[in-house]
Subunit: 116 residues, 2 copies
DNA sequence: ATCATTCATAACAATATTGTTATATAAGGA
DNA sequence: TCCTTATATAACAATATTGTTATGAATGAT
């Protein structure tokens, strides 16, 4: 029914796994920009940037709208927030397992266990 | 000088961009596990899991140690924390730019600007 | 209408990723 | 030593990613 409703973590993380795309997101925190302006700092062709932006858009990290002859890109910050619940879950579970004093010994490598 | 000191964001994000690898990390929050145990829930060959683990290890998300015939995997939680500064920077800059009341109009699309 | 600018898309090559099967290696036990 | 279990690695195929150049389409200006 819904074809591309929830940009999933796979796509979000994959989109972030590229320094060019992260730099684009960073630049967009200063305000919306068109493709040519975003491409300027990079030693890369315009189509390449165009596709990087499409990756960001598909991941839901960027939205676009037309302004005259330009298609401005805008950061979609909520999508970035989608990864926090996952990070928090991992961190919470880790803390619950390991950050209890009585669990410290259990977390030590067997080789260390006897080293006292 | 230091050859692989800072597993960079590229590798970390890329490692996280796969549900199998995220599931492995999640499982490791319950405690260290060997490759076979980690592989069990997945409909995937042992070598495949072995390489997923290597991706996680290369990204610095997992460390390993030998226990008898097993090589146990352990979550390296600090590495996950490395992505937070980047996320925070983006979020902070975004807020600074957009979350001021007097900037709201500026952030609206031109088409919306006149809609009042 | 014509032209310049902005951007997208197609076609292609190079490389990376991911999975498989077959096989090697390493440690422990009989 | 020989066997078993746990894991890594090699070789390979399928697919995905990323970049390039060439070209198409949309918009605004003259």
């Amino acid at each position: 029914m819904n074809d591309s409703p929830a940009p999933n973590l796979d796509r979000i993380f994959a989109a972030l796994a590229d320094s060019t795309r992260r730099a684009i997101l960073l630049k967009l925190t200063d305000g919306d920009e068109g493709v040519m302006d975003l491409a300027a700092p990079f030693d890369m062709s315009q189509p390449a940037i165009s596709r990087h932006i499409k990756v960001l858009e598909t991941a839901g990290l960027v939205t676009r709208y037309r302004q005259g002859t330009h298609r401005l890109c805008r950061l979609a910050p909520d999508t970035l927030g989608q990864i926090e619940p996952w990070l928090d879950m991992i961190a919470d579970r880790y803390r619950r397992k390991y950050n209890r004093l009585d669990a410290v010994l259990e977390t030590m490598k067997p080789s260390q266990k006897g080293d006292n």
